[in-house]
Assembly symmetry: D2
Homo-oligomer: 91 residues x 4
């Protein structure tokens, strides 16, 4: 799945929140990621992804994408603009 497909996929799967609520939700997910990292809960073969670093890292990715959707931001376009800016600076 491309980043753009992920943005529409997530806006289809989830109730959209406002900008502020989306940022707060991102911080909730980062907090849950911090906990499973601290407890070192990792995904084991044939076991549920629930409550693992793997789950929470994807949840943080998902909330970043949902925040981009709330701001109507195209992350693929941002990647290209940022890398063009970096490449010019590093020439």
């Amino acid at each position: 799945m491309t980043i753009r497909e992920l943005q529409s996929h997530i806006s289809g799967r989830e109730k959209g929140r406002g900008k502020n609520a989306s940022f707060l939700k991102l911080m909730e997910e980062v907090g849950e990621l911090a906990e499973v990292i601290r407890r070192n809960h990792r995904l084991k073969t044939n076991q549920s992804i629930k409550g693992t670093v793997e789950e929470e890292l994807y949840d943080v990715l998902r909330s970043v994408v949902a925040l981009a959707n709330a701001y109507d931001i195209d992350l693929e376009k941002c990647r290209k603009l940022k890398e063009r800016y970096q490449d010019r600076r590093w020439k």
Copy 2:
């Protein structure tokens, strides 16, 4: 209670963690604060503080103090040094 008393009070009440685990714990508490802010769960008269902005804000304060303890940092001394630095700059 002074900030210094709070630092020894918390080190007496809680199992000390290492620097890295203390920072991760701070992020957990910030995540829980973000959730109760998003859900606007506030303390009501004669009700438990559990699961409210009031509880989670104190928990963030507590984890900041525990992180200072992990780094052996005196927050009262930092306050004075920072304000001396600011006052000189704003003269």
Copy 3:
């Protein structure tokens, strides 16, 4: 300085922000703390506190207190309520 004195001290020293801006400011300070922890910039004798773990940890404390002020929350009262709740649970 007590926690209550710190709350009025900071509201006297700094322009008050709204609830949302105060939470965003807390996250800015946590980000700056993460950077100096990652770079391990620590306070050295007779040197400025600027850009050190000591400075940024106090800045996080300050922004937690400013957020409490924005919500009109008495952190000393929250400490007592939370500890009474904990002590009852651990009896």
Copy 4:
């Protein structure tokens, strides 16, 4: 670019950090995002992406992907596992 291509793209473009340093870097980027959101600095036509919500949101995405790389986690696989878990629960 797919999520998997983004993971290898970023590991090719950037010096890999350890797990702990990658989490701290994520928090730095979240802090910078909080600042530009608070200041409402948005990308304007024909202007640099530098110091905008657009730039910092992509930087947070990039640091989430770099953190996944540090943990050797395949985010596309996590997406599928999480959605299978959710779909079973919501049946």
